[in-house]
Symmetry: C2
Subunit: 167 residues, 2 copies
């Protein structure tokens, strides 16, 4: 899609544009996670990030399946939102001196990423259903459930140990 | 906080930094909402954005109360995440030709903003409790509940009429 060229004429165009946006976002997340894995101190947190990296790579394949089922080649479109969220994560984590406080900051950053994904997949599921594509909706729902579960796991790690150690 | 100067040494520093981040974000949201109100076609959506503008202005006052209760003057720190989310909202809405598709795009954009706020306030509530500040946690929880309720209202507007009209 070009910038301000009014290329989005239908809900279908908007659906495909948003797929391209989240497809770009998932790729950026796979690039950002190795640094977060390296920076995390708590072994459980390190492992959770590692697992999420594998899951994100799988989600990229699932998105490619949605593109093809919907008659489009997978394509990325730059997503300023995820770029801003990742920039902020890197900026804040670069400012933290203490390892245990850094773990708390990394969890907060990862949860901001998860919530971005949760909102986009929630929207995509609703639009896929509206467009009469329950097949696409079902794959997107599967990814949405994984993102919600990752967010919940990060909550548990934060509240069970990381926050109290950081305080 | 300076960039990469390792100014965040404690969870308390991280809490204050994140308060400054969301304080900046809320100000940016009050600047972005009038344009979204102007662009929305559905009267219920226009009204929901209008109500949220009033609520956001109130939330800024509540955040100032949290800053002061915690012994700090209210201060903004640039938040690349909200800037990216708002840039993307403006970019996508500038590309949509059809008014009813635009309403669907505006709701998706507003929900991305809400989810950013939900994750940040969720984190701030947890940290405030950990830091022994139930008074701050209680105000932040009040804002968090409002953000969740706004997100839910937008869901209802999308699913009850906007998405089907856009399709």
């Amino acid at each position: 899609m070009g910038l301000f060229t009014k290329d989005i004429k239908t809900l279908d165009d908007l659906f495909v544009h948003t797929l391209q946006d989240i497809y770009y976002a998932e790729h950026q997340i796979t690039k950002a996670l190795p640094d977060m894995i390296a920076k995390a101190t708590d072994p459980g947190l390190k492992q959770a990030f590692q697992n999420h990296l594998g899951e994100t790579q799988q989600q990229i394949k699932l998105l490619e399946q949605v593109f093809r089922q919907h008659g489009h080649e997978p394509k990325e479109v730059t997503c300023p939102a995820i770029n801003g969220i990742i920039d902020e994560a890197q900026e804040v984590s670069g400012e933290v001196a203490d390892k245990e406080v850094l773990d708390a900051a990394l969890i907060a950053a990862a949860q901001a990423v998860e919530h971005y994904e949760i909102t986009r997949y929630g929207t995509l599921v609703a639009w896929a259903k509206q467009l009469g594509r329950p097949d696409c909706a079902s794959i997107l729902q599967q990814i949405l459930d994984q993102e919600k579960s990752t967010d919940e796991k990060l909550n548990v790690i934060a509240e069970s140990k990381v926050n109290s150690r950081a305080a």
